[in-house]
Amino acid sequence: MNIAVRQATAAQRLKVVDCDIHPVFRTPAELHPFMSARWREHMATFGTHFRHGLAGQLPYPRMMAAGMRVDSFPEDGPPGSDLDLMRRQHLDPNGVEVGMLIALSRGGMEERNLDFGAALSSAINDWQLECWVKKEPRLRAAIVVPQENAEFAVAEIERRAGDPAFAQVMISPRSSDPLGHRRYWPIYAAAERCGKPVALHVSGYSGGHPSTGSGWPTYYMQEHYAMSTGMQNTLASLVFEGVLERFPKIKFVMIEGGFAWAPALTWRMDKHWARMRAETPHLRRPPSEYVREHFWFTTQPIEEPEQPEHLLDIIEWIGWDRLMFSTDYPHWDFDDPKQAIKARLTEAQKAKIFRDNAKAVYGLQ
C-alpha cells in the first residue's frame, strides 16, 4: 500500500469530536411539553422579543437556503431537526464519536423579557436532554442560560450540574455589556464550581449594540465577519476585567468565531497593556498568559491561508492543545473533517485537534 492511500485510510478512521452541531425543533410546539401553560400562551401570543427590527426572521438574510446546507433538509421540518438524518448524513459517515449540541434557537439568550427567557432556557435544556441526548448517546447538551439574568442562570446551572449529559454552560457573547463585566460573574462562579467550561458561540442580536464599533454593516458578508471581531472584543473584555484572576479554574470555549486572529490580538493586548498597566492593576500577568491558560477555540469557519502551511504558524502560536475541530452542521459554511485543514498535519497533531483536545477540556472518557 502506498503512503498516500495509507494516510487516506487513517484519516477515514480518525474519530472526531465535533464541537459545534446545531439541533433545531421541528416546530415550536416541540418545546410545549417542557413549558407551563402560562409560557406556552405567552409564546403563542407575544412571541419572542429581540433587539432588532424584524419579527421572526434574521435582519441579514442568509445567502442560500436560509443559511443551511441545501442537502440537509429532512422530509419535513428544518435542517437539524431530524436525528436520523443527522446520524445518516453526519455522525456516521464523518466518524463523530462525540457531538456537542449548540442549541441557538429559542434558548432565551436573546429574549428581552427575562422571565420568558428563563422559561425558554429551561425548556430548551429539557428538550436537548429528552429529544436528543437520551436518544443518541454520542451527543452532549449545553446548559443554555440567558446571560442577562444571572440569578436564574446560576440556579439553572446548579440544577443541571451533576448531569453528565450537559458538557458545558452556554451564554451569548453578544451580551448587553461586554462579558467581562461584573454582572456576569455569578455565572462564571457557578460554572467554575461545577467544573464545566463556558461555551461562547457567536450569535445574533442579543445585546442590541451595532455589530461593529462604527455602526451596523450593510451586507451579510460583513455581519458574518463581525462575529470574528466581536469574539476578539469578548476575549479582551474577559481578560482586562480580571475574570481570569478572579476565577482561576474557569475555561472558555470560543465557538464559530474563527481563531487565526488570536495570536495577533494577544500580541496587541500584551503590547498596549504593558504601557497602560496602571489602569488595570488587577492583572498580574500579560494578557497572553491568561489566554493561553483559559481559552480554547473551535475550528469552523476555518481561515484558509493562500499558502495552507501558514496555518501551522497560527496553530503553533495558539498552542496545539487549544484548537478543537467543529463542523457547524447543518449550516451552509459546514467544514468537512476530511477537507477543512489543508495544511499537512502529523497523526499526533490530527488526533489532538480532531479529538483529544476536546476530550481533555470536556473531561470526556
Binding site: 455602526g215 451586507y219 482586562f240 490580538l265
Partner: protein, 372 residues
C-alpha cells in the same frame, strides 16, 4: 542617523492641536462670537480616544515638563525630523471637532484647524505635509472642505476616524471618496472613535486600554465595509491608508474575507476579484504600532510573509504616541532587503502629491534619482 536610509517618509506624526484662542483668527465673526458667548473658547476639544495624560498618547521621554507634547516645531524637529532624517512627515490632526453633533460648528473648527496647519506648520517647516481634517458627520460639508484645501498640494490626504456613526463604505460617504480621487488625495483612516456607538458589539468597555485594543477590530470591519460596498470599483484610483491600525491582524482578514467572499459573492456581485487582491492594490498600512512580540522577531517575520507583499507598509513613528522606545522604530523581524520600499517608495506610490517637483518653499531633493 537612526534609519538605514536618509529621506524616509514618516506617514504619521501628531503635532499638538491648537486651542480655540489660536483658531479664532481663522473663524468668521459668527463663530468667534459663538465661541466667546457660549464660553467654549477655553475648552480643549480633545478626542476622548487620545487623552493627553494617557501613557499611550505621549511617550514618557517625549512628554515635556510643561506645555503641550509635540507643541512646537523645534521639538518636532529635535525628536523626529532631524534624528530620523526624514524627507517628509505627514501631520495627522487629531481634533475633537469631528466628534461634535453640530455639523456647522464641526465644519468651522475643521476649516480653522486646516488653515492653522498650513500657516503654523507647513509654511514654517518645509518637511511637513498634512492631512485635511474634515467634518465627516456631514459628507456635504466634508467635500466642501476638501475642495477648499485641495489647491494647496502640501495637503496629501483626507483624514477620517476608524470608529464613527456608520461604516465608512456606506454610499452616503461616497462624495468624500469622489473628491479625494479627483484631487489625488489619499483617504487616511486613523485610529480613534467619536463614540457614536459602543466600541464593541457587546457594548461599552470599562478601560481605555480595551478601547485601544478594539481599534484593530474596528479597522478590520471598516476595511471590509469599503471592500464590500464596492468603493474600490467605483473609485479605481482611490488609495486608502489605515493609520495607527496595527497590521498583524491583516493575514487573518485576507484569509477569512477571501474565503467568505467565495461563499457569498452573489450578495456583492460588483466584487469581481478576491478581496485580498483589492486590498493589496488599494490599501496601505502605517508601520506603528507593530503588534508583535518584541522577544520573538520570528513571529513578525512570519506574519509579514503571511501578508504576502512588501508594498503595503508605510514607515511611521506615530510621534508622540508611545509605540516604541528609544530609536527602535524598526524592530528585528522586518525584512532588511526591502527597507527602501518601507521607508520611501511605498509612500511615494501611495501619495501622488509627494511626487510633486519641489517648490520654492520646499527643500531641494538631494538626489533626483530618488523620484520613482
Amino acid at each position: 542617523m537612526k534609519l538605514p536610509l536618509e529621506g524616509a517618509i514618516d506617514c504619521d506624526v501628531h503635532p499638538a492641536m491648537p486651542g480655540v484662542p489660536a483658531l479664532l483668527p481663522y473663524l468668521d465673526d459668527y463663530w468667534r462670537d459663538q465661541f466667546a458667548n457660549r464660553h467654549i473658547d477655553r475648552l480643549p476639544f480633545t478626542l476622548s480616544s487620545y487623552l493627553p495624560s494617557s501613557p499611550l498618547t505621549v511617550r514618557p521621554d517625549w512628554r515635556p515638563a510643561s506645555g503641550s507634547p509635540a507643541g512646537d516645531l523645534d521639538t518636532i524637529r529635535r525628536h523626529v525630523l532631524d534624528p530620523f532624517a526624514v524627507r517628509y512627515a505627514i501631520c495627522n490632526p487629531l481634533h475633537g471637532a469631528v466628534a461634535l453633533f453640530n455639523d456647522d460648528m464641526a465644519a468651522a473648527l475643521c476649516g480653522a484647524v486646516n488653515d492653522w496647519t498650513a500657516r503654523e506648520l507647513l509654511d514654517r517647516e518645509p518637511r511637513l505635509r498634512a492631512s485635511i481634517l474634515v467634518p465627516a458627520q456631514s459628507p456635504e460639508l466634508a467635500v466642501r472642505e476638501i475642495e477648499r484645501k485641495a489647491p494647496d498640494r502640501r495637503f496629501v490626504q483626507v483624514l477620517l476616524l476608524a470608529m464613527g456613526e456608520a461604516p465608512l463604505g456606506r454610499r452616503t460617504n461616497w462624495p468624500i471618496y469622489a473628491a479625494a480621487e479627483k484631487h489625488e488625495l489619499a483617504i487616511g483612516i486613523h485610529a480613534g472613535s467619536t463614540y457614536r456607538v459602543a466600541p464593541t458589539y457587546a457594548g461599552w468597555t470599562s478601560y481605555r486600554v480595551e478601547d485601544y485594543v478594539a481599534q484593530s477590530a474596528a479597522f478590520e470591519t471598516q476595511l471590509l465595509s469599503l471592500v464590500a460596498e464596492g468603493v474600490f470599483q467605483k473609485f479605481p484610483r482611490l488609495r486608502v491608508v489605515l493609520i495607527e491600525s496595527g497590521f498583524t491582524w491583516l493575514p487573518t482578514w485576507l484569509w477569512r474575507t477571501a474565503k467568505t467572499w467565495r461563499g457569498v459573492r452573489a450578495e456583492v456581485p460588483w466584487i469581481d476579484r478576491s478581496p485580498a487582491e483589492i486590498v493589496r492594490e488599494h490599501v496601505r498600512f502605517t508601520l506603528q504600532p507593530i503588534d508583535a512580540p518584541p522577544a520573538d522577531p520570528h513571529a513578525l517575520a512570519r506574519t509579514l510573509e503571511h501578508v504576502g507583499s512588501d508594498r503595503l507598509l508605510l514607515f511611521s513613528t506615530d510621534y508622540p504616541h508611545w509605540q516604541f522606545d528609544g530609536d527602535d522604530v524598526l524592530p528585528a523581524g522586518l525584512p532588511g532587503d526591502t527597507m527602501r520600499q518601507l521607508l520611501i517608495d511605498n509612500a511615494l506610490e501611495t501619495y501622488p502629491r509627494l511626487r510633486d517637483a519641489p517648490t520654492a518653499a520646499g527643500r531641494k531633493r538631494k538626489k533626483s534619482k530618488e523620484a520613482p
